[in-house]
Symmetry: C2
Subunit: 353 residues, 2 copies
C-alpha cells in the first residue's frame, strides 16, 4: 500500500472557484501491486494537464453542455502522462510511458475504455531529447491537436495567405500560429498583454501582433493586414469576431475554436454584431468545433503528434510551459491558470520522470 493523493471535486463553485472548498487534494491508500482490470492498466501519474475546459465541467448536473458535469466526490480527470505499473492489455506493457486520460492523482486504475480510445498513446522510447515528456499533454496533446485540427480541417491554409489568430499567446493560439508559419502564411496574433505580445513576435516570430487592450481590433487588423485576412482562428469572439468579418477576404475561413470574451458576460452586455451580411457577400465559411467530436481529433491524431514531434526535434517549433511542482499545488495552479497568470501551457509535475 502507498499513499495516493487525488484531486477531488467537492461542489459547484459560486463564481470564482475556491481551493479547498470547491475542490481539494485528498489522500487514500492505494495498492500498486493490484491486478489491472481486463483491458486496463495500473499507472503512476507523472504529469497532469490543467485546461480551462475543466471549469465548464464544474456546473449543476442539469445544465447541458458538451461534456458531462462533474459529480461531488468524484476525482477530477484529465490528460496525463503516466508510467505503466501493471498491464492487462496488449496495448501497453509494464514500464511504458503512456498518454492517457485518467485521474488527476498520484496513482490510478485505468479502465478499458480509456485504453481503447484513440487518444491513448504509448510514448516512443527513441523520441528526440527535445520532445519533453510533458509536451504530450501540451503541444503534442489536446491543445496542440485542437490547433492542428482547426487549422487543417477548417482553415485549410495556403502559402501566401494571411491568418489572424486571437488569444495568440495561449496554448492553442501559439500552436496555431506556429503551424501557419510552417505553412508559409503571414501570421498576425492578438493578445491581451505586453509580455505575450513580445512572446509571439520575438520568440515565435509571428509576422505581426497587437495588444487589444491598447488598440481596437478593427483598427489594428486594418493596419497590420491592409490586404485583408484569409483565415481567422477565433478564441475570443465578440468585438474580435466583428473585426474579422470586416477584414475578411472573399472565401475566408473562420475557425471557431472559442469565444472566451462571451462566456461569462451576461447576454445583454455582449458585443453586438451587425455585419453578418458579409458572410454572404464574401462567401465566408465559419465552423465551430470541439476537439472531442467524432471526425475531428481522431482524424488528425497521428499526423499531429508525428509531424509536430519532428518540428520540435528539428528546432522549428517551440513549446512553453507553466509548471506546477507537485500535486499539492494543483488547486492553486488551476485557479492561477483560470486567472490567466500562466505564461505557457499549465502542467502539474506529479512525480519525477
Amino acid at each position: 500500500m502507498v499513499q495516493n493523493k487525488r484531486w477531488v471535486y467537492k461542489k459547484v463553485p459560486d463564481g470564482v472557484p475556491k481551493a479547498g472548498e470547491d475542490f481539494a487534494v485528498e489522500a487514500e491508500d492505494f495498492n500498486i501491486d493490484q491486478e489491472a482490470p481486463e483491458g486496463g492498466l495500473i499507472v503512476k501519474v507523472l504529469w497532469v494537464s490543467l485546461d480551462p475546459y475543466l471549469r465548464g465541467s464544474m456546473r449543476p448536473e442539469n445544465t447541458k453542455s458538451y461534456r458531462p458535469a462533474l459529480k461531488a466526490g468524484q476525482v477530477i480527470q484529465n490528460s496525463t502522462v503516466s508510467e505503466v505499473l501493471q498491464s492487462n492489455t496488449s496495448k501497453a506493457k509494464k514500464g511504458d510511458l503512456v498518454l492517457v486520460y485518467t485521474d488527476a492523482a498520484e496513482y490510478s486504475v485505468v479502465q478499458r475504455p480509456f485504453v481503447d480510445t484513440y487518444t491513448f498513446y504509448v510514448v516512443p522510447k527513441d523520441r528526440d531529447d527535445k520532445i519533453k515528456l510533458s509536451y504530450y499533454v501540451g503541444v503534442l496533446g489536446m491543445p496542440g491537436r485542437t490547433a492542428w485540427t482547426g487549422m487543417y480541417e477548417i482553415g485549410r491554409p495556403k502559402k501566401g495567405e494571411t491568418v489572424w489568430i486571437s488569444a495568440a499567446g495561449g496554448p492553442v493560439g501559439s500552436i496555431a500560429g506556429q503551424i501557419a508559419k510552417h505553412e508559409g502564411l503571414k501570421v498576425i496574433g492578438s493578445v491581451g498583454g505586453e509580455e505575450k505580445l513580445k512572446y509571439i513576435t520575438k520568440d515565435l516570430e509571428f509576422d505581426a501582433g497587437f495588444n487589444y487592450k491598447h488598440e481596437k481590433p478593427a483598427d489594428a487588423i486594418k493596419r497590420l493586414a491592409p490586404d485583408g485576412i484569409d483565415i481567422y482562428f477565433d478564441n475570443v469572439g465578440g468585438e474580435h469576431l466583428a473585426a474579422a468579418f470586416d477584414a475578411a477576404n472573399t472565401g475566408a475561413r473562420f475557425i471557431e475554436c472559442g469565444q472566451v470574451s462571451e462566456y461569462s458576460t451576461p447576454i445583454e452586455k455582449r458585443y453586438p454584431l451587425r455585419n453578418l451580411f458579409q458572410i454572404v457577400s464574401k462567401r465566408l465559411r465559419i465552423q465551430g468545433f470541439i476537439i472531442a467530436d467524432p471526425g475531428f481529433g481522431d482524424k488528425y491524431f497521428k499526423e499531429h503528434i508525428e509531424t509536430l514531434g519532428k518540428w520540435i526535434a528539428d528546432g522549428s517549433f517551440k513549446g512553453r510551459e507553466y509548471i506546477i511542482d507537485g500535486i499539492d499545488g494543483i488547486s492553486q495552479g488551476f485557479l492561477d491558470m483560470l486567472a490567466g497568470k500562466n505564461e505557457g501551457k499549465a502542467v502539474v509535475r506529479v512525480a519525477k520522470e
Copy 2:
C-alpha cells in the same frame, strides 16, 4: 431588317429606380439573317428572367461587388429562353430552344463565351408537357439552382431532420422547401404576408409556417420547432438569423443565401446579434455562397435540371410565375418585383412560343 426592342441601362438609380430614367426600352434595327459569330448564335428571345440581383449591378462602377457594375448605355443581360435563328457552333442548331445568358431584348447576337459556359443548355425536344419553357429561367434556372446547390452542398439534408427556410414564399425559398420535403424533412417556412403563408402551407404543403410581421421569429420557431432545427436556409439575416442560432441543434448547418433584411439598412440600425458563441458550443457550420462561384452552380447544374424536371413531370413539384407580357412592360415589371408585388418568379414573355 426587323425592329429590335432592347432593355437599356441609363444611369445609377438614386434610391428606388425610375422606369424611363434609369433604364428604358429602346428600339434599333436588327438583321436576323446575319451570320452568327464564330462559336456563337443569333437568337430570338422568348422569355427573360427578372431577378433581384440585377439591382445590385446598377451601382457606381467603382463600388466593388461579386458581379461587374452595368455601364450607361449597355443592354441589360440576364438568363433567357431563346430560339436559335442562326448557329455557328456545334452546340446548338437552327430551331433549337436554348437557355442562354444574353440581352434582355427581342433579338440578340450571342458571343462564344455565353455558349461555352456551363449554364448554356439546349432544351430537350421530348420534355414533358408540364415543364413549361419559362421554367428554364425559374425553378429549372438560376433561382432553382441556387436553392438546389445551397441545400445539397451546404445543407446536406437527412430524412427526419427539421429545416427552417426564411423568405419561404420567394422563388428560391419555395424551391428549397419543396426539395427538403422531397428529402423527407420537416419544413418550416417564414414569410412576410398572409397570401404567401397560405401558399407555402396549403399549395406547397410545408409542415408549418409563420408570418414574421405577426409573430417574432424567435417565438414562432420555438413554437413550431420545439426540438430545434438542423438546417437554416437564410434569405433574410438579422433577427431571423439570431433566432436560428438560438434554435439550432448541435451540428446544424446554415445556408447563407441572402440577408435581405440587412442590405438597405444603415449599419447602425441593423439588428444586433449577441449569440454567436453558439457557433462554438453547438458546432455550427455556416457558409455563404453565390451561385455563380466556381464549384457551386456548375457542380449541380445537370443533376438539378434533370431531377427537378422529373419531379415537375410527376406532379410532385410546383413552380409559380408572375408573368409580364411583352418587353414593353419590363421596366415596370422589374420595379414591381423589387417592391415585392410579384407572387411567383418574375418572367417576361418577350415573344409567343
